[in-house]
């Protein structure tokens, strides 16, 4: 029969199944197909911390959401238009997120008494009216998969495992995705096991053909490619972009990269990735613990390499003392914190932004540390290069604050030309820099550059510059141990001044305020960039004016931040924490910002945030400008979704 083709401007699909069902792979393949088709996209993988939680249960559900469109989009989307549920638990865990009228494709195979009970269904939802509000397609995906791969002689269990590819084929047909990338991917992935390879390809094609021929699916959808600025693109996750950024920064600085790291979710993929790039002079050291990881990295930095350590919040807690040593010894070091839900072990596979204050203050003494944060998966590349630029230029440890959503989420990324990257000059010390009273040349390790306040980086092997550094307070200039009170006061202030100086070379904060008349500013940092941007669009589409700005540098802040904040009657700061940036802004600028805080392990939803922003705009515009921020604060401080 002739299929109908409908045009859509955007779709949100969520693939959900048991954590052993291959949903992450399915989502990833659909994403690659979508990327190569030219849609803009954003993804949200969501999986349990357990590798294989008990089969068929709600805690074992793993899902992958992809939002794609014919225009520029910013988030993985709030509410899926399509849910693919591979078992009762996947249906139960996700159905609540769907709007009425959404499409639900269910694999009926596991809808038996036992699995229904495991998911907490007293009766089969496919046989009651509880799914009447959705467009339900109840199909035996597993049964059809087993039938489709019969000729390859696999065991029933192995045959059934290809059901994710059947589902992928069906959804690929529905949305007119190109199939070549998935077929060549399967050919490579299973090159050594011919029967598994052929079964997966057969299941994928069977899923596509099922869509094409069955009467159950009458509509095929078309989402045209999104206009993007010219260039070559690839789809990239935050962890991959971050790893590439580290390699690129090291190449730009012409330094060998030394990664000292201990495996931890969700940062381990950076270790895995960098270990593949030894040809760039990258050494990856899987240490005995978090402390050894950063210790070895700092030792390598002392030796003239670019030391890097990667971890998540619990790892930062362990590394704190060594970060303090790096502050004191003033050596370049990049510390990557891929934030996850905390405190303690918290929610290892979920996202959060609650390590900002740990990054700022989580050390003994006055221990200032530059902090850089990426705002999207692809932006992890630029943020990593920026962290290296600051670390090398200012001889300081730098904290790079990514998070779980950025780490595993993906988006199209325009591949940069190398000429677009900054040059980074390690400017190693080669000569003595001081004369004694008797006119003898000496090397002083704590003489400072006038502009940056950076000290010289003199590496072992350089004759005549032998010197000792360490964690004890250093005498100004000569760097020998000093317990002198005035010297300590001077050194504490100098270390702070050095970090503050970084702002001298930063560009002004970009404020997006199209009319220039907005009275409310929404200010964010990190991965909330997408949800904030999407929420601001909604508010503007509703006819209101609102400004948006996003911080790349959390320490030091851009020099004009205080002035920008004071231009607006009210400032809202959405964060996935209880108000950590808000606290810093209030303390530094005495501006009573309005927090929008959500700490549920998931990204902020654009619709919820738009509602809160709308409320703040309305109350601000509806009041005398002079009194705006105070009233807005009381009304909206406790808003959450």
């Amino acid at each position: 029969m002739a299929k109908q083709v409908k045009q859509l401007d955007r779709v949100i699909i969520r693939f959900a199944g048991d954590s052993g069902d291959g949903m992450q792979l399915t989502g990833d393949r659909f994403t690659q197909e979508t990327a190569s088709f030219g849609n803009d996209l954003s993804t949200l993988p969501n999986f349990p911390a357990e590798i294989r939680a008990p089969q068929g249960t709600l805690p074992g559900v793993s899902s992958f959401q992809v939002h794609f469109a014919d225009h520029d989009i910013l988030t993985p989307g709030d509410r899926p238009d399509v849910l693919v549920a591979m078992n009762p638990a996947a249906l139960k865990a996700n159905i609540g997120d769907l709007p009425k009228g959404a499409t639900v494709i269910v694999d009926t195979h596991d809808f038996n008494k036992r699995n229904l009970a495991k998911a907490g269904y007293a009766e089969d939802p496919l046989e009651t009216d509880q799914l009447d509000e959705y467009q339900l397609h109840a199909v035996d995906l597993t049964g059809m998969t087993v039938e489709a791969v019969k000729e390859f002689g696999l065991s029933r269990k192995n045959a059934a495992r290809a059901k994710n590819m059947f589902a992928l084929g069906l959804v690929s047909w529905m949305y007119g995705r190109p199939t070549e990338t998935t077929i060549s991917f399967l050919e490579k992935r299973f090159a050594k096991v011919a029967d598994i390879r052929d079964a997966n390809i057969a299941a994928f094609k069977a899923g596509w053909n099922f869509g094409e021929t069955t009467e159950a699916f009458v509509v095929q959808y078309e989402i045209k490619p999104a206009p993007m600025s010219s260039g070559t693109y690839r789809n990239i996750t935050g962890n991959l972009a971050l790893a590439y950024g580290l390699v690129a920064g090291a190449v730009q600085a012409d330094l060998p990269l030394f990664l000292g790291s201990y495996p931890i979710t969700p940062a381990s993929d950076i270790l895995h990735e960098l270990s593949k790039h030894k040809r760039f002079g990258v050494i990856t050291f899987q240490a005995e613990d978090e402390i050894a990881g950063i210790g070895a990295a700092l030792g390598a930095s002392f030796g003239g390499a670019l030391g890097v350590t990667t971890t998540s919040g619990p790892g930062i807690a362990l590394k704190s003392e060594t970060i303090g040593l790096a502050v004191m010894t003033e050596l370049p070091l990049v510390v990557v914190d891929v934030q996850r839900g905390g405190p303690s072990t918290g929610l290892p596979t979920k996202t959060e932004q609650a390590d900002l204050l740990q990054a700022m203050f989580g050390r003994n003494g006055e221990s200032p540390l530059p902090i850089v944060a990426p705002q999207s998966p692809g932006d992890c590349f630029d943020a990593a290069v920026e962290a290296i630029r600051i670390a090398v230029t200012y001889r300081t440890p730098v904290m790079l604050l990514s998070d779980g959503m950025l780490a595993n989420g993906s988006e199209p990324w325009r591949i940069p030309e190398l000429s677009e990257l900054p040059t980074i000059d390690p400017a190693f010390a080669t000569e003595p820099n001081h004369q004694t009273g008797e006119g003898k040349d000496e090397f002083w390790p704590y003489v400072r550059d006038e502009a940056t306040l950076a000290r010289p980086w003199a590496v072992p092997g350089t004759a005549g510059l032998e010197h000792r550094i360490g964690g004890l307070e250093k005498g100004d200039g000569h760097g020998n141990i000093s317990y002198d009170p005035a010297n300590h006061d001077l050194m504490v202030r100098t270390r702070q001044a050095k970090v503050d100086r970084i702002a001298d070379a930063l560009p002004p904060l970009q404020v997006d305020d199209p009319s220039g008349r907005a009275r409310v500013l929404v200010l964010g940092w990190g991965s909330t960039y997408g949800p904030i941007g999407a929420a601001v669009r909604r508010v503007r589409n509703a006819g209101m004016e609102v400004a948006q700005a996003h911080l790349r540098h959390l320490n030091p802040f851009p020099k004009d931040l205080g002035e920008v904040l004071k231009r607006y009657d009210a400032v809202m700061v959405p964060e996935m924490n209880l108000g950590q940036l808000s606290l810093l802004l209030r303390a530094k600028f005495l501006v009573d910002v309005v927090g929008y805080n959500q700490v549920n392990g998931m990204p902020i939803k654009a619709a919820d945030l738009a509602e809160a922003v709308t409320g703040l705009v309305e109350s601000t515009v509806g009041t005398d400008p002079g009194a705006a921020s105070g009233t807005a604060d009381r009304t909206h401080q406790e808003v959450s979704s």
Partner: protein
Amino acid sequence: MTTTELPFPGLAGVPTTDAPQNRKEYTSDQEVRWCPGCGDYAVLAAVQGFLPELGLRRENIVFVSGIGCSSRFPYYLDTYGMHSIHGRAPAIATGLATAREDLSVWVVTGDGDALSIGGNHLIHALRRNVNLKILLFNNRIYGLTKGQYSPTSEIGKVTKSTPMGSLDQPFNPVSLALGAEATFVARTVDSDRKHLTEVLSAAAAHRGTALVEIYQNCPIFNDGAFDAIKGTPRAGNADGGAADALIPLRHGEPIRFGVPGEDGQGTKGVVRDTETGGVRIVEVTADNQAELLVHDAHADDPTTAFAISRLTDAGYLHRAPVGIFRQVQRPTYDDLARDQVATASQGTDDRNAALANLLGGGDTWTVV
């Protein structure tokens, strides 16, 4: 002299100099601030006397230390140095040694630094066999924090933190290192400059992690801890003094010690104990002379070395083997890590071109 001609394979890759060097060049301008009578002075003097003999370029030597009295060591040597944080020196030195083939990297640590707070890093450095020389100053007490018991203090030690006596079994650092797959393990004493220099020379010559335990007296908080093995009269040794207490280990020679007999050799010796599988001490007689254990530091199997290490008193020290327990060759972590980088880098002459390829890899599409 080129590096290949060096008598020290452990230092291959480290640039050498023909210019004569002396102790003064290795002495920094910093005032040494250990307590009067501290054993650390003797070790510092031995090291300052011994380093010039290596013929290395001074700028290619690095001393890394942790926290504790002995960890001030790097400040007093005019080489590169880092006085780091408590227990972490082996980790920091591992990164440095792996990143830089051309450096001779030394770690200075103490019993608290290496065996308590830094125990994890020590055992992992040993198992990896990183090209580091670790000098473990063992005074069996916490000195810098003013006299608490340490992980090598004997049970029942009365200190400020253990007024009724300490409760925990001490580590035997040599046994620990042997159990941690160390390739070079030795013990020496601060007061014996000749033995100290001999052992440090052998450590320098070793490619891999060398652990040297140095018995070191703390005159303030644990004075006399080593009097018995040093033969000091007040320690009340029964007869032979130091000769009866120290068991010198020399590769290829029967293990004998004690007051010399008519043949000029020690009247005591070490034999295998067939009942326990360990070793035991015997009075040497004409009958048992052939059974004396010939020390083999190069044996692949560390079992006998471990058995010998157990002859050390766990309580107040009346007896201890000294010398090189174990010295075997095994590829080092840092050499292997650099080999992998070298292998992977073959054909990558242009890092920029390779980077452009990396970034542009995977499934891409072009928008015009």
